[in-house]
Symmetry: C3
Subunit: 136 residues, 3 copies
């Protein structure tokens, strides 16, 4: 099964939890044992598995990447002034594959699926979710 | 086919080679051409493909991440004092997908599959291995 | 379907766009809805999804990683003098999984698939492409 989740982002940078939407697609697929591939389109955003106890780790992710990959010092800034966003997206990566176990997403208690927005706000970020059966 | 590898970790940070366990599951699956998805549960550990000639690269990985992501300076430290471990895990990522070629893991000579422990020691780290056939 | 793309690299470090080769394999597979797993063998190279408008972001990727992971300061340098290349490859990672939508690679306009060479030049870098159907 394949479906698309669409979200809007409100800030220039931030993490957005899409776990419940992916979980709903896994349920809809009826797959018992397999895998969900979660992939974001666009080269200035990424997918990260991270804790969601509160906002702290999400802020830490943004602050860490700001420190490691400062803005305004890249060749690409001459085009779009968003070189740092492309670099952050490339390092974190656009996708994760998560096991499906007994019909449920195989995340542990503190693992959630986040969209990392590095060049927002955006009206529509599209995440493609493709679910595979390993039983067949 | 889907199965779980369980390991214990002895230090706060370190890399643990699980290649032989994953290889055994690929053999058991009988899949000739396809893919193995290797995914670790828990938000303070990760999976990395890396060289295993000796201990040097493994030490270098830990030392690099300590330098880039120091401990004790994160918002999340107010909760658990392990903000750096979450950030390292998020950047490296919880999973890798590795091709299966002619019934064997499609790693090259110097590629091995490592669990990266960033918040140990832990009695039980669980790695979900799901194997898919691309012939069908 | 599974196939291998082979490329040669001309410099010590650089990004090489393999999108058109992967696209051709997706077409050849006849898969309508599913996923392409793109995996590079060798522990000093990686796969990154990145913009390909011009050379700027590719240069920025190499320069960023040189700054974050300097050469010549690693334990592994005592063996091969390429510790930095292994670390860069481990952090970026050897593979990406990309959705196949309506028989086409589900990349967005500015997403391309790049081999990151960190220890070239090399006569032959091998990339394994495995394509899966999610309809079955």
């Amino acid at each position: 099964m394949q479906d698309i989740i669409q979200i809007s982002t409100q800030k220039q940078e931030g993490l957005y939890d899409i776990t419940s939407q992916v979980r709903a697609l896994v349920k809809k697929s009826g797959v018992n044992s397999g895998m969900a591939s979660v992939y974001i389109q666009g080269s200035t955003a990424a997918i990260m598995i991270q804790e969601n106890w509160d906002q702290s780790v999400q802020n830490d992710v943004i602050n860490l990447l700001k420190k490691l990959i400062p803005s305004g010092v890249w060749q690409h800034d001459a085009q779009d002034n968003n070189g740092d966003a492309h670099l952050k997206a490339g390092i974190v990566g656009p996708g994760e594959t998560i096991p499906v176990i007994n019909g449920e997403l195989g995340l542990s208690t503190w693992q959630n699926i986040f969209v990392c927005e590095f060049d927002g706000p955006r009206e529509a970020r599209k995440i493609v979710v493709t679910i595979f059966n390993s039983d067949k």
